[in-house]
Amino acid sequence: MNKVVKNAEEAIQGVKSGMTLMLGGFGLCGIPENSLKALAASGIKNLICISNNAGIDDFGLGVLLRDHQLKKMIASYVGENKEFERQFLSGELEVELNPQGTLAERIRAGGAGIPAFFVPAGYGTEVAEGKEVREFNGKMHLLETALTADFAFVKAKYGDYSGNLIYNNTANNFNNMMASAGKITIAEVEELVPTGELDPNQIHTPGIFVQRIFQGTNYEKRIEFETVS
């Protein structure tokens, strides 16, 4: 099953104003750089983006923010982006903040056909507002709902023509769950190999979750905080 497309421009075909997108990565680690650039170049606006973070001012999701392409962000931590802050405070950008584990699980649930589930995170905080509360085993829990997206953009180290993916180190993060939660999932990889070259026991994301795949180019893989010993 050949799911290979030529490049990011071809991959993002069908993304339209007002759609909900998921974007993998944690900080700048494991983000779909090529797809983000193509989305920025497309000028598509009014996007709802689900991503753990919002990039930095001049890289990652930050570029879409800068160009006012986002209507709403669903994220857990957006600390490294001043433009985000500005748009949020001015009311230009809607923001829904989720506890990180809840965000991860909502995305997994979206991919796994589980419409809602209970977690303890956020009970008694502003995250609980409007949510059903229920006690299990003497502990209070919130009912959280699944998240899905029109398009999910993920990045892996290796991928094959059938869409099987293998991530590298902590660059997996949100990518694996998001791959399962996109109606159309687009994977970009550092190395695209023919089907059959990846060990079936080592595949992190089975190809069934991926609709389009391409070999990315010119990866910058920026480091947010280079810390050395």
């Binding site: 944690f26 900080g27 700048l28 680690c29 494991g30 753990n52 994220a75 857990s76 931590y77 957006v78 600390g79 490294e80 802050e85 949020f88 405070l89 923001v95 903040l97 506890p99 990180q100 584990g101 809840t102 965000l103 991860a104 699980e105 995305i107 997994r108 977690v119 303890p120 995170a121 956020g122 009970y123 008694g124 905080t125 502003e126 995250v127 180290k157 991530y167 590298n168 180190n169 902590t170 660059a171 997996n172 993060n173 949100f174 990518n175 694996n176 769950m177 992190h204 893989k221 920026r222 480091i223 947010e224 905080f225 280079e226 810390t227 050395v228 010993s229």
Partner: protein, 218 residues
């Protein structure tokens, strides 16, 4: 004398036990890793998807695909494993992490914690903090006893938006070790040379002083 950040971290390291899986938050908690007692095996979990955090890499060897939850470049120890964020929080939410150490803006005498948001100030988001405090078997807050204005961070009630309710077990500050008990903050240890009076003065919530309070030992 009040402890510095490293002193707080060093005292917290005494809470570790052999075989523990530990999640260390950003700031002072991260420093705890420098004081793990010789011969003790403690595995550090990073909620972005790493079990077995190693030291920071040597200069020039930083791997952009290998960071901790504070987005700093790190290394992975022998026996480490990588996984996605859902699995990472399964570990946390499922109670598999033995100890969580995190910072706070405020802690209340019933164990509520506020650590993620100051109304009117920079919005950063809660990251993994709400998941951690709601689920960790044991939570230690690492903080200075008072804020920059000299106001107590150990309160009757938190004034800032909460991260979690009735979850903190122990607080280790520059002045003292305190446990959350039914009626308030129970003083367990004093920082070297810090008097019970000083601690009382710096604590807005109910402080329980039961008998002679020993000094921390290093």
């Amino acid at each position: 004398m009040a402890l510095d950040k490293n002193g707080i971290a060093q005292r917290i390291a005494q809470e570790l036990q052999d075989g523990y899986y530990v999640n260390l938050g950003i700031g002072i908690p991260t420093l705890v890793a420098n004081y793990i007692p010789e011969g003790m095996e403690v595995t550090l979990q990073s909620e972005n998807g790493l079990l077995g955090i190693g030291p920071f890499p040597e200069k020039g060897k930083a791997d952009p695909d290998l960071i901790n939850a504070g987005k700093q470049t790190v290394t992975a120890l022998k026996g480490a494993s990588f996984f996605d964020s859902a699995t990472s929080f399964a570990m946390i939410r499922g109670g598999h992490v033995d100890l969580t150490v995190l910072g706070a803006f405020e802690v209340s005498e019933n164990g509520d914690i506020a650590s993620w948001k100051i109304p009117g100030k920079l919005v950063k988001g809660m990251g993994g903090a709400m998941d951690l405090v709601a689920s960790a078997k044991n939570i230690i807050v690492a903080t200075t006893h008072t804020n920059r204005k000299g106001e107590s961070k150990l309160l009757r009630k938190c004034t800032l938006p909460l991260t979690g309710v009735a979850c903190v077990k122990r607080i280790i500050t520059d002045l003292a070790v305190l446990d959350i008990v039914e009626k308030g903050f129970k003083l367990i240890e004093r920082a070297p040379g810090v008097s019970t009076e000083e601690i009382k003065h710096a604590t807005e919530g109910i402080l329980i002083i039961d008998g002679e309070i020993p000094e921390m030992k290093f």
